[in-house]
């Protein structure tokens, strides 16, 4: 009796374990990255201050410029974007490093509303704007170069938007201070690797 009971217990334990391992097996494989090793170097722009009004950025010089300058490509205005001096843009989906070729068409000079495309707004009660994961702004610059931009933060100092001090509106860093990284291909080709 005793022996039989133990055998059955073993059997049932084995059965349960078998069932569990079966269900785990289906999700344990293929979790490693298959990212591309980039050849061009990405520039990171930290804390570009748009809190006092729109800020104009030139990708070819890598700096903010005056509105009157003929070299700006992209205007950061709250969570919206405009493109100037003939620059055009489109939003693509994917991982920044893996976007190795810029599309040759489908760019637009139209203003771009960031919320719902490259930004996500959490709504009440926290009212947080975060860059939407997997969205890349691809730009054809004013001087016909191809570039890609990944937005990183909408707030001063790229804070952790899940932290207590961020959730608390009293201690939340200023908004409309942009951090992003970009790659521009100087040779005019669509290669963005």
């Amino acid at each position: 009796m005793e022996i039989k009971f133990n055998t059955l217990k073993m059997l049932s334990v084995a059965f349960i374990l078998g069932a569990f391992s079966l269900s785990f097996a289906s999700c344990s494989k293929n979790d490693e990255d298959d990212n591309v090793i980039p050849e061009l170097e990405a520039e990171t722009v930290a804390d570009l201050d748009g809190s006092q009004g729109p800020v104009f950025f030139s990708l070819s010089t890598g700096t903010a410029v005056e509105e009157s300058a003929t070299t700006w490509d992209i205007k950061f205005n709250n969570s919206n974007f405009s493109f100037g001096n003939g620059a055009e843009a489109q939003v693509m989906e994917g991982i920044f490093d893996n976007l190795v070729v810029a599309p040759s068409s489908a760019y637009s000079m139209e203003d771009l509303a960031g919320i719902g495309s490259v930004y996500t707004y959490s709504g009440p009660p926290n009212h947080i704007v975060t860059p939407t994961p997997g969205r890349i702004l691809v730009i054809k610059t004013h001087d016909n170069k191809y570039a890609k931009i990944e937005l990183i933060s909408y707030y001063l100092g790229n804070p952790d938007t899940n932290s207590e001090s961020f959730i608390n509106l009293e201690t939340r860093p200023d908004s409309r201070i942009y951090t992003f990284r970009y790659i521009i291909q100087p040779d005019g080709s669509t290669n963005l690797k």
Binding site: M1, K4, F5, L8, K9, S12, F15, I16, A19, F20, S23, C27, S28, K29, N30, D31, D33, D34, E93, G94, I95, F96, Y119, T120, S122, T130, P131, T132, P133, G134, R135, I136, E150, I152, S153, N158, D160, N162, T179, R181
Partner: protein, 697 residues
């Protein structure tokens, strides 16, 4: 039923209980447990059948277990069952095999309880007074019950009175001014039986965020009154009639844009259920059933400062069904069960244009075949015809193989479905504050045209005339399991399940209004699957000590989302660098509100000399997804989950006067766990004292 007759009914019940004070005392079995596999159940096959012969997994909860745990409402007992989780969404409902509350059918004596809000049937509506047992069948039972039984069926079986006169008065009072009082009485002779009860359940409400000045759950008082009578015309023919009435009034008070609004919400439901059984011969039995149920709500809410009306709504639902079932025992090992029915449903409500109605008819058949004493095979199906959506055929095949006295293997494949409900077909709702509109599929074209004529539409995204008809949601389900009784005192069940669900109905934007808001309608859009395994064990260590426990492992995933994750097209941001990375497979959390792990353990002990009974239970619900934080629309970050939690419940009771009087103390959620942000149905620690007196003569 009017209030005068209710009054008379309750008075007569009270007088019966007073009259019987000097009744004789019957000794009730004083030890725990018997052989649960010999229990006869009805839900899985719609015929009486012993659990050990069923090829379908079934759980039963006896009224004794419910009483020993000091429980008075359905939500309390379901919360402690292996594989079930409570969910708060327009009420407290139950999640089964990873399905939302709307996919579990709740029956009383085999007839459906109606009245759902956004798909949830409020479980505390159902009292545990005067019940015999609860039967839970997991996995679709549409082959017998039709729509709604896609996740499973919970059938509450009411008591059949003992011979003679019996009755009980039971009370429970505790935290949040929660009071439950029941008086029930029953009488039975050889040919006639009557039983009935009156129950009052009230609560002072509670607030999880007292600083707001508003209550999370409003105070309410609910009455349930039932009567059931049976008459045996002859050895061959019985008639049974059941009536049930429920009335709840609730004092609502909450804030709308920083202004307090308040008012009363009323809810009433009523059901009438006569059935006639005739045994033509040993081989042939027929049962004729009629069921009529109504469910009404009314609510009027006004601003407290100006007394101006804020919102006034009503909802009236009616359900009528006639059915005949015939059981034919072709041979001692072969039973054919078949049935035919017709159903008429209506709804009239503030948010529907006019009175809407559904007609449907159905037929079902099932063969129950015992083979070589070891196999039991059940094959059956049900065909549902409906005047609004496509007809459905729901087959089921289940088989068990008894290896020996100790082990039985079970396997089944079946189809489940859920019909589009009134809301999905006919809703006509515009939110005055936010400005969006939602229209049911059937009236979509008409309502959209009206908005266009009024110049309210700026862009139509999908032309409604190009839409295909809204279909029922449907699933294929597979279950394999083993039922074990390795020693006399131990029962263990293990089941593995998989449900593939298609055509899930969800809302999507169909047009943009000039105010920038959307017009929504319902579509058959998503496919999901749920799969997992469940194990439960009960071990009677001695005649007075019982332990048990259970676990469930669950995966519930949206097929599109899961494909995106598998193909590396679901993105999130690395918490260190804030740069986009692909969501890993192991990070995908599946559908909202589903816990991957749930577990429970229980121990009950009877000290025979003092008559003290002790019951302690632990329930664990693992973390589950609640919201999207990173903007990718799926659950993948730790911050997108509600943390897992444990609840400890216990009760202690002592019986006096030969078990007729019982004093009980109950502590639910002893550690006082609350989550004010996400779990509205957990008020914290609940302490109750209960006293009950029963007699029989």
């Amino acid at each position: 039923m009017n209030s005068a007759s209710l009054y008379i009914l309750s008075l007569s019940l009270i007088s019966i209980s007073l009259h019987a004070q000097q009744a004789n005392i019957i000794f009730e079995g004083d030890t725990l447990g018997s052989n649960p596999l010999q229990e006869v159940v009805v839900t899985a096959t719609r015929t009486d059948k012993k659990i050990e012969e069923l090829p379908i997994p079934i759980t039963t909860i006896t009224s004794k277990e419910i009483k020993d745990r000091g429980m008075v409402r359905l939500n309390e007992i379901l919360a402690e069952q292996t594989g079930l989780a409570l969910v708060g969404d327009h009420g407290t409902g139950v999640q089964m095999q990873g399905f939302d509350a709307q996919y579990t059918m709740i029956l009383i004596d085999g007839e459906p309880v109606i009245g759902r809000t956004s798909g949830t049937l409020e479980l505390p509506r159902i009292t545990m007074s005067n019940i015999d047992r609860i039967e839970i069948v997991k996995g679709p039972s549409s082959s017998l019950y039709g729509s709604e039984a896609m996740a499973g069926v919970i059938n509450i079986i009411t008591k059949t009175p003992k011979k003679g006169l019996s009755g009980e008065l039971s009370t429970r009072y505790g935290t949040n001014e929660s009071a439950d009082v029941s008086i029930d009485a029953a009488f039975r002779t050889d040919k006639f039986s009557f039983s009935g009860f009156v129950n009052r359940f009230s609560n002072g409400g509670y607030s999880l965020m007292p600083e707001t000045g508003f209550q999370t759950v409003a105070p309410f008082a609910a009455y349930t009154i039932t009567g059931k009578t049976g008459y045996q015309f002859s050895e061959k023919t019985d008639l049974n009639v059941s009536l049930r009435y429920y009335d709840n009034s609730q004092d609502d008070r909450y804030a709308v844009e920083s202004r307090a609004v308040s008012g009363v919400g009323l809810q009433r439901d009523f059901s009438f259920f006569p059935s006639l059984t005739h045994r033509f011969s040993d081989a042939h039995t027929s049962m004729l059933r009629f069921y009529r149920a109504t469910y009404k709500t009314e609510s009027s809410i006004s601003y407290e400062d100006t007394e101006e009306l804020y919102d006034e709504t009503f909802f009236d639902q009616g359900f009528t069904r006639g059915e005949i079932q015939h059981d034919y025992t072709m041979r001692s090992n072969l039973v054919l069960t078949s049935g035919l029915g017709a159903q008429y449903e209506t709804v009239e409500a503030t948010r529907y244009d006019d009175k809407k109605s559904f007609n449907s008819g159905y037929a079902y058949a099932q063969l129950d075949w015992k083979l070589l004493d070891r196999f039991n095979i059940i094959a059956g199906g049900r065909y549902d015809m409906h005047n609004v959506y496509k007809s459905q055929f729901s087959p089921k095949l289940a088989a068990s193989y008894r290896l020996n006295k100790k082990i039985t293997f079970l396997a089944s494949a079946s189809r489940g479905y859920k019909a589009p409900d009134f809301r999905q077909l006919y809703l006509n709702f515009s939110n005055a504050v936010a400005g969006y509109s939602v229209f049911g599929y059937e009236d979509l074209q008409e309502n959209l045209q009206r908005l266009q004529d009024e110049g309210q539409i700026s862009e139509v995204l999908i032309d409604p005339s190009t839409l295909s008809k809204l279909n029922a949601e449907s699933s294929w389900a597979y279950n394999i399991g083993v039922r074990m009784r390795p020693v006399d005192n131990l029962i263990a069940n293990v089941n593995i399940f998989r449900n593939d669900v298609d055509n899930l109905i969800s809302t999507a934007s169909i047009a943009i209004k000039t105010n920038g808001q959307s017009v929504f309608s319902y579509f058959n859009r998503n496919a999901v699957f749920t799969q997992g395994t469940e194990a439960d064990l009960t071990y009677l260590l001695s005649n007075t000590l019982e332990i048990g426990g259970g676990i469930q492992y669950l995966e519930a995933k949206d097929v599109d989302e899961w494909n995106m994750v598998k193909e590396g097209r679901a993105y999130t941001r690395d918490p260190e660098t804030s740069q986009t990375v692909a969501v890993k497979r192991s990070e995908y959390g599946g559908l909202l509100s589903r816990s991957k792990y749930m577990a429970n353990a229980r121990i009950s002990y009877l000290e025979t000399r003092s008559g003290i009974r002790l019951s302690l239970r632990w329930n664990y619900r693992g973390r589950y997804g609640i919201r999207d934080v990173d903007g990718n629309g799926i659950i993948n970050l730790d911050s997108e989950y509600v943390k897992g939690y444990s609840l400890f419940n216990g009760s202690i009771s002592k019986s006096f006067l030969n078990n007729n009087l019982r004093l009980q103390f109950t502590a639910d959620n002893m550690l006082g766990f609350t989550n004010e942000e996400y779990i509205s149905y957990l008020p914290g620690r609940l302490l109750y004292a209960g006293l009950s007196y029963s007699f029989s003569k």
